[in-house]
């Protein structure tokens, strides 16, 4: 009889968050859906407690190497919890107004999705990785369509469902081929078996390339990496704005960690000189380049802030993938660090868009005219977030881009880094355009915007994160370096 190690201690944070999601739903029903704020606060409290639990219970492997609670997982779990926290915090306006009948389900589904991301980031094995990915995306389909009476939102949900199902199928086909080649679903064993197979047969053949391409395509759909990005703008525009924010940060971070686990861990052998012909790095590098170009150029022409941020997030993933293709310790650390800075800036920018939309019902950029006079604090926050997304020093986005580019140069991807620099200049134009609209155009200055305390907390977290970690990035960077050390890369 084999021995099993079920260290249940390690999944306490996930179990707690799952139970908490049920508590939130039941609380909402039993309070007869009267309290508009307490459900939200309860959700935020649950996320905070999970973070504390995570700090206490991590480090180790459980469930026969299926659940690995390592530093990389910890790092990304902090990002997931942070993005869920900020998404929930900016949802109070819409919870008291637009989704009155389903507040509990709304928050509960956000928590379910977060649980999925947490499982995904810890999984060291293809089946649990896939299941985690499904748990991440299925609640998001529903959340995207949560405004049932709005055509755009239903369309967003439908599109996301179809694309999500299709990409899962492609990914699953790729993963099953990989299993066929190696006879195992454990990523560490896949690495060993592929090397053995290659050494004994001298070649593996084009089937593996097909598997790699399909896995890349499947995950790229989730990441909205060009050319698999077409769904993103429509879904981002139609979904409730906090969900858009959660999609663009949380679910992207989940895709990134899945990518890192599969490619940088399981298929690492194929960036070695011996097996170089089957290298996946170059495919991803070209896609990253396309993402930077397409995302930034298309963002120039957008008049809706959510669409603009959607295209900008496509471009941001392009920058992020520079760190991934570098396949070095610095590269993986830079990916984590970039995601962390992106969390604050992007969640913050979407929070401002949510607050503005709750008040005015509009998300077109031209309606931001003269916002600096009617809501100076809000526009200052927006300006800071957008400047950070551009990568202006001394904000967090600058440090993030700097480190990603450094990793790219170290790995010899000069052309990619140069393209990144050039497209950053393009990005400056459309981000600055919003700031210009807020500060230098006249609009109705009698607009009165009351920011809900929870949304205020989100903005404060975002601004502090962007500024403090921009000036003093060492703690996060060290944390990221420590998490990247896991892969034992050069």
């Amino acid at each position: 009889m084999e021995t099993f190690d079920y260290n249940l201690k390690l999944i306490i944070p996930e179990m707690f968050l799952f139970v908490w999601a049920l508590v939130v739903i039941v609380f909402d029903i039993s309070s007869k859906r009267r309290n508009s704020d307490s459900v939200g606060y309860l959700t935020m409290a649950g996320l905070a407690i999970t973070a504390v639990l995570l700090y206490n219970f991590h480090g180790g492997i459980s469930f026969n190497n299926m659940f690995s609670s390592d530093i990389l997982a910890l790092f990304f779990k902090v990002i997931f919890l942070g993005s869920a926290f900020m998404a929930v915090g900016s949802s109070f306006g819409l919870a008291s107004d637009k989704i009155k009948n389903h507040r509990g389900e709304y928050y509960g589904l956000i928590l379910f999705s977060t649980v999925g991301m947490m499982f995904l980031s810890s999984s060291n094995e293809l089946i649990s990785l896939y299941v985690g990915l499904e748990l991440t995306t299925i609640p998001l389909f529903v959340l995207a369509a949560f405004y049932k009476d709005k055509k755009t939102s239903v369309e967003a949900g439908m599109k996301y469902l179809i694309v999500g199902a299709f990409s899962s199928a492609v990914l699953l086909y790729g993963l099953s081929l990989l299993y066929g080649f190696t006879g195992t679903t454990d990523l560490t064993m896949i690495k060993i078996n592929l090397s053995l197979l290659f050494l004994s047969a001298g070649k593996i053949g084009p089937g593996l390339i097909l598997a790699i391409v399909m896995i890349i395509a499947g995950i790229s759909f989730k990441l909205a990496l060009v050319p698999f990005h077409m769904w993103a703008p429509d879904v981002y525009q139609g979904a409730p704005t906090p969900i858009t924010a959660f999609l663009s940060v949380g679910s992207k971070a989940a895709g990134v960690v899945a990518f890192a686990r599969i490619f940088v861990h399981g298929l690492i052998a194929f960036v070695d000189p011996v097996m170089k012909p089957l290298d996946w790095g170059i495919i991803v590098a070209v896609m990253a380049a396309a993402a930077m170009v397409v995302g930034n150029i298309t963002a120039l022409r957008q008049h809706n802030i959510k669409r603009m941020l959607a295209y900008s997030s496509i471009a941001q993933v392009g920058y992020l993938m520079i760190g991934m293709v570098a396949v070095s310790e610095l590269g993986i650390a830079s990916v984590g660090f970039y995601m962390f800075m992106y969390l604050f800036a992007n969640m913050g920018a979407f929070a401002v868009a949510t607050i503005f939309e709750d008040k005015t019902g509009s998300s077109s950029i031209s309606s931001y005219k003269g916002l600096s006079k009617s809501a100076p604090a809000l526009s200052a926050c927006m300006a800071i977030f957008l400047l950070s997304l551009t990568g202006i020093p001394p904000l967090g986005g600058f440090a993030a881009k700097y480190i990603v580019f450094a990793a790219g140069i170290q790995a010899g991807y000069y052309w990619l880094v140069i393209l990144g620099l050039l497209t950053s200049v393009v990005a400056l134009y459309y981000y600055a355009n919003v700031i210009k609209t807020m500060y230098f155009s006249d609009g109705n200055s009698d607009l009165k915007i009351n920011i809900h305390p929870a949304a205020r907390l989100v903005l404060v977290i975002g601004v502090i994160g962007v500024i403090i970690f921009g000036i003093y990035p060492e703690p996060i960077l060290n944390f990221a370096m420590e998490s990247a050390a896991l892969f034992a890369l050069p």
Binding site: E2, F4, Y6, I11, F18, I25, S62, F63, N64, M66, F67, N101, H102, E105, G108, L109, F112, S113, V115, G116, F119, I127, S128, V131, G132, E134, L135, I138, P139, F141, V142, A145, F146, K148, D149, G157, G180, F181, T182, G183, N193, L197, A201, K203, I204, G205, P206, G207, L208, I209, L210
Partner: protein
């Protein structure tokens, strides 16, 4: 089980049924007939699983896909009066592009599988693989097994939220 020739004969027969019925599913104009052909298609896939000595998979295929999913679809069609007896178009302007893309993908995958070194397991399959699968699901794979139940719960809550009629 069968002799090699007989099982090969069955394989080709089943594959033929699968391909033909799958083509009917995506091309017929009466959606009810499409659903019936889908049942046939999924049922034949279960037959392929039996030929591969994956009895458990075959049973699951029949129970879930042939039993639950298809019946549910047929119910949905019959209860939706708009769909039941109406002719629908199953293709749009992109059909040529789609055919090229699918054919390209088919040829690429066939070609690349042909030139590939596959890992071959020499040891015979376990006698009672349903038992083995059951054991594995409750031991090695217990975590994903349990997480799947959370997925189902989330999907159920989501479906109820979306399908519920709102009080105005």
């Amino acid at each position: 089980m069968f002799g090699v020739e007989v099982s090969q004969l069955f394989f080709y027969l089943l594959s033929f049924i699968i391909i033909v019925s799958a083509i009917y599913v995506v091309s017929l104009r009466n959606i009810f007939h499409c659903a019936l052909f889908l049942v046939l298609c999924l049922f034949s896939v279960a037959g392929i699983y039996i030929l591969l000595e994956a009895e458990f998979l075959a049973a699951v295929q029949v129970l879930i896909y042939v039993g639950a999913v298809s019946i549910l679809m047929i119910f949905a069609i019959m209860l939706t009066s708009r769909l039941a007896n109406k002719k629908i178009m199953q293709s749009n302007d992109n059909v040529t592009v789609a055919i090229f893309v699918c054919a390209g993908f088919l040829l690429t995958s066939l070609g690349s599988f042909g030139y590939t070194v596959w890992k071959v397991v020499d040891s015979p399959l376990p006698e009672n693989n349903t038992l083995t699968i059951g054991k594995l699901l409750m031991t090695d794979y217990v975590l994903p097994f349990e997480v799947v139940s959370i997925v189902l719960l989330a999907a159920m809550i989501g479906a109820i939220v979306l399908a519920r009629r709102e009080k105005i």
